[in-house]
């Protein structure tokens, strides 16, 4: 091997490494440092006063931050659980040999591709107290109006997210279902397993690894949601829909406390880091298990 050959991989890596170092890693380090400062947007970072972990402690005891964290966790929990149930359920139901399945899947991915800003806009219109679709429908049926973006804001926001992201779970679980080995299902059918038994004892357990990764991916994404809520409610009424991402952006732009916003970002980052590492560990575990199984089978032969 000559020198040019040894350098090849580095030349392929170089552009990506440089860009990620400048625009991801360095900013993240800058943020860690910034979170230790009393820093407002009109100051440069060199002029800001060093305050140690004060921002973190303040946030820890800040009721608004705690409420925002609570809203974020509630939102993520309900969104992921409901989307998993509906998405997997639909996949089990629609896993049939029907005409036009590809058209159906195309239609289902539309909501995911549209800008979150536009999704927020559509739902804000539909939830509108007087001219919105839901309330005019309720009214024409003689039912009482619902204050969607007022008293039930969090629920309404969750519904909009379910509309947009259930298809993601659906598509992935459908793919998982269709890659299941036909022989296991065939064997179960011959043994006389009912439809429910097939689902409960064979399909779901065999899909489980993919379902867990899908759920974790969705959970990580649920913490990133911002635009839909910003357009629909702007975090209100009160703090009832102010998820962390929104609170960070408001702390930085409205309250002009960059240090606090940076500390808050760090809390969010830690949370997501834990989730990502969990997902990473899980896939590694699965791979190890699959490798062990394969080895065991080979030994038997």
């Amino acid at each position: 091997m000559n020198a040019a050959n040894r350098l090849t991989p580095y030349m392929f890596m170089l552009p990506a490494a440089v860009i990620m170092a400048i625009a991801l890693i360095y900013p993240l380090g800058y943020m860690m440092y910034g979170s230790l400062l009393d820093w407002n947007p009109s100051q440069s970072i060199a002029d800001a006063e060093y305050v140690g972990f004060k921002n973190y402690v303040t946030l820890f005891y800040d009721p608004a931050f705690r409420e925002s964290l609570g809203v974020t966790l509630t939102f993520a929990f309900f969104v992921v659980v409901l989307e998993m149930i509906i998405g997997v359920g639909l996949a089990l139901l629609l896993d049939r040999n029907i005409r036009g399945m590809s058209v159906l899947r195309t239609i289902f991915i539309l909501p995911m591709m549209i800008a979150p800003v536009v999704v927020g806009l559509m739902w804000r219109y539909m939830y509108h107290p007087t001219i919105g679709t839901f309330n005019t429908t309720l009214e024409s049926l003689g039912l009482p109006k619902v204050d969607w973006l007022g008293d039930h804001a969090l629920m309404s926001v969750i519904i909009a997210d379910i509309w947009q992201w259930t298809p993601f779970i659906f598509i992935l679980s459908l793919a998982a279902l269709q890659s299941l080995p036909k022989s296991a299902l065939e064997a179960a059918r011959i043994d006389g397993a009912t439809g429910w038994q097939q689902i409960w004892f064979i399909k779901l357990p065999m899909m489980m690894p993919i379902l867990i990764v899908t759920g974790l991916l969705r959970l990580i994404d649920a913490f990133k949601v911002l635009e839909v809520i910003l357009v629909m409610t702007e975090g209100g009424p009160g703090l009832s829909t102010e998820i962390l991402a929104l609170r960070i952006s408001r702390t930085a732009t409205e309250f002009r406390e960059l240090g606090v916003a940076a500390a808050m970002s760090n809390y969010l980052l830690l949370l997501l880091m834990a989730l990502t590492l969990g997902m990473f560990a899980f896939t590694k575990l699965q791979e190890a298990r699959a490798a062990r199984l394969a080895a065991a089978i080979q030994e038997e032969e």
């Binding site: 552009p15 539309l110 804000r124 992935l172 635009e227």
Partner: protein
């Protein structure tokens, strides 16, 4: 589906399908219909489909690039056309850059063993989950204050001479500034998704090319790239989607001349009196490119999505 015989389903099943399709497309259709209505019609809410369709909302939205002046407008306040062009420039350039840089890195990670490979691959995996909101504070600070050509420096001085301004030239407020952060943000995802496609390229093909005297870059561009076209298409669509739809970082980094469409929509939504017709027309215009992609490349999108999750 290879076999062309379809199972007969009972009517309830088809009813469910229709309901699902209605739920998925309904809100989008509603927005499309409303974008052709006057505000009066939207607010009075009379008769869903019985109205005179008008393109007035689209004229208002696009007033800065229309060749004629619409009669109903005195003043063109909504500069949608300019924002649309900004969005297009930013999304296209950042997608192209991300793809080129990303597939080179993915190739190195899959095909070569080198020092620092594990670190690089773990870092890529970890930064993939960083949300835009977390990047907001540091990116705002850095792009405005650090990533600047100094006012005392040669190039900065020359630019100030030529264009005026406050003296130093920073990344914030330029197209390049937004493009840089989008490329960085999308790279981990693109590298990750392309790895699973590159693994599948048979090594023997690459070796054959090498025996014939092709250098590593030739092998990569002439042999590997054509074989991973489906992966590239999927990655391109996902990158474009994020760059096209993103709001938060763009709003922190852009100025009046580099504003993108999502910013325009959010700004017009937060006013007390929302002009529903116009805002829905702008929303529709923003939604059209992703919708077209979905209709023509849904197969690639689904492949990309499943490759991302299943082969993670």
């Amino acid at each position: 589906m290879a076999d062309s015989t379809y199972e007969k389903q009972n009517p309830a099943f088809y009813a469910l399908l229709v309901a699902l399709i209605f739920m998925a497309v309904g809100p989008i259709a509603l927005m499309l219909i409303n974008s052709f209505k006057l505000d009066v019609d939207i607010i009075s809410g009379t008769g869903g489909l019985l109205f005179m369709p008008t393109i007035q909302n689209y004229e208002t939205a696009l007033c800065d690039i229309l060749p004629y002046e619409p009669d109903h407008l005195d003043f063109c306040s909504l500069k949608f056309g300019g924002a649309f062009i900004n969005s297009l420039i930013i999304a296209l350039i950042s997608t192209a850059l991300t793809l080129v840089i990303g597939c080179m890195a993915a190739y190195a990670l899959v095909r070569f063993k080198f020092m620092g490979r594990d670190t690089a691959s773990l870092t890529t995996l970890l930064v993939r989950m960083v949300p835009p909101a977390v990047l907001l504070v540091p990116v705002f600070g850095l792009w405005n204050n650090e990533f600047c050509l100094d006012r005392d420096g040669m190039i900065g001085g020359a630019i100030r001479e030529a264009f005026g301004g406050r003296g130093d030239v920073c990344l914030a407020g330029t197209h390049s500034g937004i493009i840089l952060i989008y490329v960085a943000m999308n790279l981990p995802f693109v590298i990750w998704i392309l790895q699973s496609f590159i693994v599948q390229v048979p090594r023997s093909l690459e070796e054959a090319a090498r025996v014939d005297g092709a250098g590593p870059f030739q092998v990569f561009f002439m042999v590997v790239l054509p074989l991973i076209k489906p992966g590239l298409a999927a990655a391109a669509i996902f990158t474009f989607r994020i760059a096209w739809n993103e709001y938060l970082l763009a709003s922190a980094l852009s100025d009046r001349d580099t504003r993108t469409v999502p910013i325009l929509i959010v700004n017009n939504m937060s006013e007390f009196n929302v002009e529903w017709g116009v805002i829905m027309a702008t929303g529709m215009l923003l939604a059209i490119p992703p919708i077209i992609f979905t209709l023509f490349a849904s197969r690639q999108i689904i492949t990309g999505m499943t490759a991302g999750a299943v082969k993670g």
